[in-house]
């Protein structure tokens, strides 16, 4: 794994991918933009879940009641048996220099490396509001939290245009949430704070 990679794909499907973090406890932030670089194409996704658990599904972590430094000093092996993994929803892909805002024909290959997206890449991805629709498909985590987090992350790359971007995204959201005014309010409140 090269220095810049933040994870390795360990599970993939047409719509989602699961990757193991390079470092324990350090997963890309909730709602951040990541990419999987493959030979002929790059697949883009947004992180919607991160979890840390034991490598062995039969052995669950238990409490030791010790602060972390002491735990590392006295029982270093515990940390060898844990892994952090994260899941992301695919929002688009780039092939031969053209960015497409829909699902790729093939899911990401296992053991490909995962990287964080650059600012320019985030800008390109969020220029078209279609990514919001992909986020709406996620049902395992609260959608309002996910969308708000994604928008907060995306807005930072826009600098002065931040407000304009948020308003545009908001208008797109209105179409997606339909009559669910509560959802819209919840998302926008989380974005503004």
């Amino acid at each position: 794994m090269d220095e810049a990679a933040i994870g390795e794909v360990i599970g993939s499907s047409s719509t989602e991918l699961t990757a193991e973090s390079r470092q324990l406890h350090i997963a890309p932030p909730f709602g951040s933009f990541i990419k999987v670089e493959q030979r002929h194409e790059t697949i883009y996704a947004v992180v919607f879940n991160a979890s840390t658990q034991s490598l062995d599904p039969n052995r669950l972590a238990t409490a030791y009641h010790l602060p972390e430094e002491e735990l590392r000093a006295e029982h270093p092996q515990i940390f060898e048996l844990l892994k952090t993994q994260f899941e992301a929803v695919t929002i688009g892909y780039e092939h031969a220099g053209v960015l497409r805002h829909h699902l790729p024909p093939q899911p990401p290959r296992l053991h490909s490396f995962v990287y964080a997206c650059h600012l320019t890449e985030i800008r390109r991805l969020t220029a078209y509001m279609g990514f919001l629709r992909a986020l709406m498909r996620v049902d395992r985590v609260p959608r309002d939290e996910l969308i708000a987090a994604t928008l907060r992350n995306a807005a930072t790359v826009y600098g002065e245009d931040e407000r304009r971007f948020l308003v545009q995204a908001g208008k797109e959201l209105v179409k997606l949430v339909g009559d669910d005014y509560e959802m819209l309010t919840s998302i926008l409140q989380r974005v503004q704070s």
Binding site: R163, V167, G170, L173, D179, Y181, L184, T185, L188, V191
Partner: protein, 550 residues
């Protein structure tokens, strides 16, 4: 043709009869859309000219309205604006032109709307070109006269004076809304473009010479009258030479009317003003039987004590004759009435008309209703009779030189002449109903159109209406106009001054205008040259030429 045209929305709903609805673009503020303004819908094959009739707020979700975002929720408000909450503008399409007939710089005549545009047709603000295409322009032809500008544009709106003079017309509005200015404008247009000869019964001496402007208007205190603007083309007649002298204005002729010209019909139409009972009027006929044309003169010359004998002589009831005598004695106080008159006023008027000279008849201090109605009735009745003869002669000979000159008679306080009762008795009712059969039409000025007979109102071709807020008056002005309900709100929302709704025969569609300013620019536009000493002498010389020494 598409550059710089600002889009305001797209069509989302509507029908031919009910009007169209447009969803306002989120970039346009609802507050910028005003009733009475002009927009254009770019359909696939046609262009539609429309007026904004209503503006409404809509939302897709009642929850939003029940829990509106508060002041601090800025982002929410911006997000909702144009998506969940938006403005809907109601439009009334009034005219359409086929796009394939477009020729730049030329007049593409619009026609009546027979269909509507498709969904999502783009709506844009109307521009100057659009207005000239619809309303014509003074540049296209002499028959267009610039009367004002639309509410939100600087292009001139013109009325078609040819079509204006094809019917009788009316200028309406509450007191103080600028009817006099509107009338002066229209008359100036008729005079400048030589569309008709005008005879103006100027009750308050407002049209002939200078009149003091109301205080709120600009610095200069006086506005020019028609006589000053058009010089020799306008003759100033007066009923009250003393008043004219006091105001230091030159009048070309003093009108005097002999008793012998007053008929019983003239008195009958004044029955209400004179407070005359019907039987008293009937007795007048008995006097006529006996004394023919001299009936009035004979009656007024009677000794009050001898009335009883007089009554017996003609076979009328003494009380009726007394009443008649008493009421008609008021006429003796009028200085313009006399036993015998040297020059016949009507002849002089006809002389002027034949020379294409317009006449303003001032009433000076004789501006009471009674004298106004009496004089207007008498003169008009005789002129009308002469016109009927002329027309019949023309129809017989068919020679162009026999064709009577088209005459427009302007009367104020028209409801006095044209209320349902009077309309049947006065000559004005007759003229209104005849339309232009005998080459005479009316220009009626009034603030109470609801008092005017319905039938007469429906004959009024073009109506120029300033602010009216009495329901009855609004209904009256909209009589005979199809699909008038949407115009109601427009009428009630006019400014008190300098705004009017023009509709009818002379304009292709109803439009709200800001009236053209009656000022130096206007004077210059109608060809006025500033006064100098030479002008007065020229005027004096012309008068002598025309009338001899009066």
């Amino acid at each position: 043709m598409e550059y710089g045209r600002r889009q305001v929305g797209v069509i989302v709903n509507g029908s031919l009869i009910g009007g169209l609805e447009m969803k306002l673009d989120p970039y346009c503020s609802v507050e910028d859309v005003r009733a009475g303004t002009f927009v254009v819908i770019e359909g696939e094959k046609s262009r539609f000219f429309c007026m904004v009739t209503d503006v409404r707020l809509d939302s897709t979700n009642p929850q939003v309205l029940a829990n509106p975002p508060d002041e601090t929720a800025d982002l929410m408000r911006q997000v909702l604006h144009g998506t969940t909450t938006y403005g809907t503008v109601c439009l009334r399409p009034l005219l359409m032109t086929a796009k394939e007939d477009d020729i730049p710089e030329q007049h593409n005549e619009p026609h009546v709307v027979k269909t509507i545009p498709a969904h999502f047709a783009v709506v844009r603000e109307a521009e100057e070109d659009d207005v000239s295409q619809v309303f014509g322009s003074e540049a296209y032809s002499k028959r267009y006269f610039h009367i004002g500008r639309p509410l939100d544009m600087e292009t001139p709106v013109c009325i078609n004076l040819e079509r204006f003079t094809e019917r009788s017309n009316g200028i309406f509005g509450k007191t103080g809304t600028g009817k006099t200015f509107l009338t002066r404008l229209v008359l100036a247009g008729l005079i400048q473009k030589k569309q008709a000869v005008n005879l103006i019964f100027d009750m308050h001496s407002e049209y002939g010479w200078e009149v003091q402007k109301e205080a709120e208007q600009q610095q200069q205190g006086f506005v020019k009258g028609l006589k000053q603007l058009f010089g020799v083309s306008v003759a100033s007649f007066t009923l009250d030479p003393d008043s004219a002298r006091r105001r230091e204005v030159q009048s070309d002729f003093t009108v005097k009317i002999p008793y012998s010209q007053i008929t019983v019909e003239d008195i009958a139409s004044l029955a209400e003003e004179l407070n005359l009972h019907a039987t008293a009027v009937e007795s007048a006929y008995l006097i006529v039987n006996r004394y023919k044309g001299n009936w009035l003169s004979t009656l007024l010359n009677q000794d009050p004590a001898a009335l009883k004998e007089f009554a017996e002589e003609v076979g009328a009831h003494p009380e009726s004759i007394s009443a008649l005598y008493r009421k008609l004695s008021r006429l003796k106080t009028f200085k313009f009435l006399a036993e015998r008159v040297a020059v016949d006023a009507v002849e002089k008027i006809m002389e002027c008309i034949n020379k294409d000279i317009h006449i303003v008849l001032e009433f000076g201090q004789q501006s009471g209703f009674l004298s106004y109605m009496l004089v207007a009735n008498i003169l008009t009745r005789r002129i009308h009779d002469l016109y009927v003869d002329k027309t019949e002669r023309y129809q017989a000979t068919k020679r162009p030189e026999d064709k009577p000159k088209h005459l427009v008679i302007t009367i104020e306080e028209a409801h006095k002449f044209l209320n349902p009762v009077a309309a049947r008795q006065t000559i004005f009712g007759t003229i209104a109903r005849e339309m232009r059969k005998y080459y005479v039409s009316l220009l009626i000025i009034d603030q109470r159109p609801s008092s005017i007979d319905d039938e007469v109102l429906s004959q009024v071709g073009t109506r120029i209406t300033a602010l009216l807020n009495d329901e009855k008056d609004i209904n009256a002005v909209l009589t005979g106009v199809s699909n008038a309900s949407w115009l109601r709100s427009v009428l009630a929302s006019l400014d008190t001054k300098q705004q009017a709704l023009v509709m009818g025969h002379a304009v292709p569609m109803p439009i709200v205008i800001r009236t053209r300013d009656y000022d130096e620019t206007f004077y210059a536009a109608v060809g006025y040259t500033p006064e100098g000493p030479g002008l007065k002498q020229k005027a004096a010389a012309n008068i002598t030429d025309l009338f001899g020494d009066c």
